[in-house]
Symmetry: C2
Subunit: 335 residues, 2 copies
Amino acid sequence: MFKTLAVVGATGAVGRIMVQLLEKSPITFEQIKFLASARSAGKTIEFRGEKHTVQELRPEAFDGVQLAVSSTPDEVAKEFIPEAVKRGCVVVDESAAWRMDSNVPLVIPEVNPQAAFNHKGIIASPNCSTTQMVVALKPLHDFGRVRRVVVSTYQAASGAGLGGTKDLIEGTRAYLEERPYRYTTFAHPLAFNLIPQIGSPRPNGYTSEEMKMVLETRKIMGDESIQICATCVRVPVANSHSESILVETEKKISVEKARELFSSFPGIVVIDNLDAKQYPLPLDCSGRDEVFIGRIREDISSPNGITFWCVSDNLRKGAATNAVQIVELLLRGHP
Amino acid sequence: MFKTLAVVGATGAVGRIMVQLLEKSPITFEQIKFLASARSAGKTIEFRGEKHTVQELRPEAFDGVQLAVSSTPDEVAKEFIPEAVKRGCVVVDESAAWRMDSNVPLVIPEVNPQAAFNHKGIIASPNCSTTQMVVALKPLHDFGRVRRVVVSTYQAASGAGLGGTKDLIEGTRAYLEERPYRYTTFAHPLAFNLIPQIGSPRPNGYTSEEMKMVLETRKIMGDESIQICATCVRVPVANSHSESILVETEKKISVEKARELFSSFPGIVVIDNLDAKQYPLPLDCSGRDEVFIGRIREDISSPNGITFWCVSDNLRKGAATNAVQIVELLLRGHP
């Protein structure tokens, strides 16, 4: 069907999982290329029984590549993706560089698959904390029209890349051994601590991560009237983001109805039995591709509110899984 | 002024801090007694240069005691506090046993000091997660009338007592060394994980901890019309609870006004400079007696909302400090 697929940023925290997912995916291609920064070029990646050498990410690396999935820092995506597109390559990009560009569809295959087919060379995959929330919001929106969302996140160290995970693990070891540790990825110690800032400050007092949850959600849902207040917090969890979400809808949604809507939506798994102490836990959801929902209950502070707990592997559905699902959607050719 | 003070539960996580605080307090008394369960009786506590033997908590232990500060499991408080009161002792109780009793004032000295003087022998100190939130709500309520609160907590292991702290530290060590660890206090692993349940299930799907934040807040504020939706989550932090709080008020409160109201309220410290990466962190707030507030910003999802991040040492202002402040208030004799 098509000749060459490229994985850009193949050695990063998300890229590694993209490689694993593509390996198991039914997608076929004649050739696969693994690209990364000069620092990682020359490394070897084994894929479907063959050894591949990681090549340096340069414009010419996209010559002859039809499709690429990319997970790089934003600056890298800003620079190289137009070079790929110029060479006829379609890029599914996991970075934040192109998400809010009006020419770029921002896609979650369960939510707005049709948008993927209106691309002009770039399709963006949303921010990790946004993706899992929007998957949860979609069935509620379809049934009762979401008017307002209040969300507080509990975001894992892996969201800051391999350096974030190292900071958490080494910082925790050092704390327990009463040794000093110099954090390189986080601005404050994360071991046994919380950092109520993810991303950079915005003029309105929110962080870039918090505003992504507002702006990306509206774009994916295609509804600029949804009001969202987000607080994003880094927690000393290695992997999987969790979110405490309160949703107000135009039409009242009962707990039973919400549970039914969530359960029948593709990509959502409901784990919700408080009496049996069952609800999604980040340790349990790591390595899984779905969005997990529990603690579903009526918002007792508003007439049409529902509140719940939502956990998902931020490197998977929050990043690699969603990007690979977009590739599969494109190759399938229809929603 | 008065003869005998007793500290009940003196060897527990909160009791130990009560002892430290009383040692430095200007309160004077002829005699002090330390009471604890049979398991801890016989231990020695040094206080203001003298050694004291911990006595077993029995009804007769309150003979001749005028005032007691107590931090015990609820069942113990249910059983022994009436015995103390029967013997003429006034008890400041940190447990949940008596808080919602209509004969028992529930007091935060900065918020409703006058209530302390209407006691009938028992004065209750609120739940840790409630106390810090209510201290933050009070100046907003006085200025703009609080109508609704949405709160998500990030609660430390120490809130579950000494066993909780041990579970977190030993569980984390075991995780890093890839050894199994059997948690004794928590129902799920807490190392690098989150547990979205604190307390027992209530019929409406909330937990007892979440409903404490609703019911205790209304009682302390003396306003049953305040609507509250709480989500309480245990996080792998050793000490100090954090809360993401959104408040809707009748009268609009600007960010500048909120900062001014918080700053001038006794017991609140504002740390709020996102550009300089300054906001309250649980590691920094541990061992401090105040409530710390940062990330103050307009709620962009409602017309009259304000949202912020609130951290406080749950063993101190959330427990021991508040109880000792109630004792000081009683001895001062006026608000």
